[in-house]
């Protein structure tokens, strides 16, 4: 696009945002639809009668069967069933768990809070630790930098459950500083969050440091230094933004680590949350809950990757061009 046309447009379009934003949101909707369809196909493909599948280990009575047939519209045509299912989803109706005898929406609502608290605390812990490590050690060939690099490697290679068990052994059983299990406010959040966030801080710290060091060798860094600015200002004003780009790419992976890891960490620390719910739903073949969890993870991924893509545009103006 020529600079001339750029001057003629205003607002979002002028900044070259409109095109990418619309494309990204459209793609997000398409992915959600695909996930919903995949969940539906999973239900159809499970061997056996759909009513049997939905009941699973729940109580099997003729009334229950009739209820399922009306709720899922199983007496209607296949196409109609599928459309009804999508319409129900659009209304926010996730169906009922016939095993637990509760609405799936309710179930998720009670379990999602603790998991989000855990994931966010872990993420904040991981990001802050990574930033501190990267900023204090980038470009410095000191023993401290080497030590940080080593400990990052250790953090990356330790699975969360192992970290969790070690933390429990030291801080709960030996020192007694933190509760062993349950969900009793922030105190009981500390150890699980550390167990979950440590892996993230290891990877993120390495990526950030590499990005910082690469940016500090670019020609623009030489130019910036030639202006007489301090090294700290060079990092804060120039290099950090460049280092953030590859780090932001990893955010999608973090979400995977956080939610996957949460299942294990919740088990280790005996915390309520989606982890427990997922485990029981999968082992109990509770299809409505499993389907809702598929959808939930799709929503989380789509939201996160949309935010990631849009934050690229925010960080790197060179990507805003195609309108």
């Amino acid at each position: 696009m020529s600079t001339l046309t750029l001057t003629r447009r205003r607002g979002l379009a002028a900044a070259g945002w409109a095109g990418p934003v619309v494309r990204r949101l459209g793609a997000g909707v398409a992915v959600l639809w695909a996930a919903a369809t995949a969940a539906y196909l999973a239900l159809l493909l499970v061997p056996g009668d759909t009513v049997d599948v939905l009941i699973a280990d729940g109580v099997d009575t003729p009334e229950r069967r009739a209820q399922i047939i009306t709720e899922w519209g199983l007496d209607r045509s296949q196409a109609r069933q599928y459309v009804d299912y999508l319409v129900r989803l659009l209304h926010g109706d996730l169906g009922r768990s016939y095993v637990l005898q509760r609405g799936v929406g309710d179930l998720l609502a009670t379990q999602v809070g603790p998991t989000i608290r855990l994931a966010l605390t872990a993420a904040v812990f991981g990001v802050v630790l990574a930033l501190v490590l990267a900023l204090t050690t980038a470009g410095r060939r000191s023993w401290f930098g080497g030590l940080a690099g080593m400990s990052e490697l250790v953090a990356v290679s330790m699975p969360p459950f192992l970290v969790g068990l070690l933390l429990l052994a030291v801080f709960s059983f030996t020192l007694g500083w933190f509760p062993v299990s349950g969900d009793r406010g922030f105190v009981s959040l500390v150890l699980p969050a550390v167990a979950l966030g440590l892996q993230i801080s290891g990877v993120l710290g390495q990526v950030l440091r590499e990005g910082l060091e690469r940016a500090l060798e670019e020609p623009f860094a030489v130019t910036a230094r030639s202006r007489g600015i301090t090294e700290r200002r060079l990092v804060a004003g120039h290099a950090l933004r460049h280092a953030l780009l590859p780090a932001v790419t990893l955010t999608g992976w973090f979400v995977g680590v956080l939610f996957g890891g949460a299942i294990i960490v919740e088990a280790v620390f005996g915390r309520p949350g989606l982890g427990q719910l997922t485990l029981s739903a999968v082992t109990g073949k509770d299809m409505p809950v499993v389907m809702a969890l598929i959808l939930l993870s799709a929503v989380v991924y789509v939201t996160v990757s949309t935010i990631v893509d849009l934050s690229y545009l925010l960080i790197d103006p060179r990507l805003r061009r195609s309108g």
């Binding site: 600079t3 750029l6 020609p219 030489v222 910036a224 230094r225 202006r227 007489g228 301090t230 004003g237």
Partner: protein, 536 residues
Amino acid sequence: MSLIEVEDLRVAFPKAGVQAVRGVSLSIAEGECVAIVGESGSGKSVTARTLVGLTGPGATVTAGRFSVKGRDALRFGQRGWRRLRGRFAGLVLQDALVSLDPLRRVGDEIAEVLAAHDVVPRAGRAAKALELLEAVGVPEPELRARQYAHQLSGGLRQRALIASAIAADPPLLIADEPTTALDVTVQAQILRLLAARKAQGTALLMISHDLAVVSSIADRVLVMKDGVVVEEGPTARVLSDPDDDYTKLLLAAVPSAASRGTRLSAIATGGVSLRTPLPERKVDHGSPVVEVSRLCAAYGPRKVVDDVSFEVHAGETVGIVGESGSGKTTVARLVLGLMTPVSGQVRLNGTPWSTVSERERRPRRSSVQLISQNPLDSFDPRYTVGRLIAEPLGGPSRERRDRVAELLARVGLPADLMTSHPRRLSGGQRQRVAIARALAPQPQVLVCDEPVSALDVSIQAQVLDLLGEIQAADGTALIFISHDLGVVHHISDRVLVMRDGQVVEDGHVDEVFFLPKHDYTRELLGAVPKLVSAEL
């Protein structure tokens, strides 16, 4: 008083085992323009950066004397250097696209200098940045200050970079290859801007690989080679009457009208410099090898080649000149059959080429080969040199080894390079490998797209000589694309001047370059920096 005085400056990078600068003495007086000229690896950039304390990590700097503004720079700490950078000396690097922070607005980049030295109070910095942009000739400064480097044209962003270097009004401006990535007309504008700064009393230190670029502006020239100054003196004297053999070689290696038909490299030195002729080449004026007729091509709605026609005969060289975006490379892609024209056609050996299907084209592809600007990008990084050259022959094999060795010998490379990886070769060696690969299928046409633009002048001379020899021996037709009018004048028989996808002028190269009819050709020729002693 001298702004900077350095005696016996030595810079080494002990970890890499490199002695980049080995005993350079240099002084820059107020308002003076000094130029350091040399090829890559000569230590000219390292010298320039050392003068502002930016030699880089792991470097050891020693000097007999190193005084900046009368103070001993060897005793400066980081803080001492920081106070001088931007305030005492501004630095302009090549290619503002990467030398300005691509993620920051141009105005913020300029304001950064003002903030670092607190030249202007915070509230006035944005206005001062606009003023500076205006002073370096950037139109619509309000708009440009809000934009990013990639949104500005090459010339504008180089001006913005200069604006950031002069923001704190330093008495010295160090410009490291400030015009290297620019088109010739834009280069002329930037040189005028630097000359205007000099006229206002700013001292300049210009670093360049191009003697012609500095000759118009520098009072004194230092010629550097392998970390040592081999010649130093007033610009006019160094250019017209060089003492040192290396300076003579550099001057003689510059291609021009006067060097046509002669070798550029390895001229006789020691008092007399005589050019030796290249072997005679015969142009077959019968039927042309390549016929391009009324060719039009577009990327989407944008027309990039508009009604271009020309012919190339066996043994002939047709040059295509023009600035970036003029459609030169698209013409190359069309001739190579890598792109389908919107209308018009390319014929090869009298038979259709651009209009036939790829299946019909493939068996004939060996007769048209490409030599590009950056050979490394055109090599599979995992291939060895031997495999790269054997590929067009049908892949590496025992029997083809001899043929590969033969091709390497033709381009002046030893056969034992076969097992090397291209990344480990020098720029000149890489381009030779690219030429050997292009020669492998015995092509009738070589399309050369800026083949020497990334090379030092002495290496460029060798590669141009090599192309001349090949053409004389094989009768290959050459399409030679370049932005460098001197190179094109040296090598071409006929030339096309392109602008905005159209050929504005064509004809015999002497006619077009000595008696240009079109205004644009005149503008291009007028913008070329002239070397005083080009007719050496």
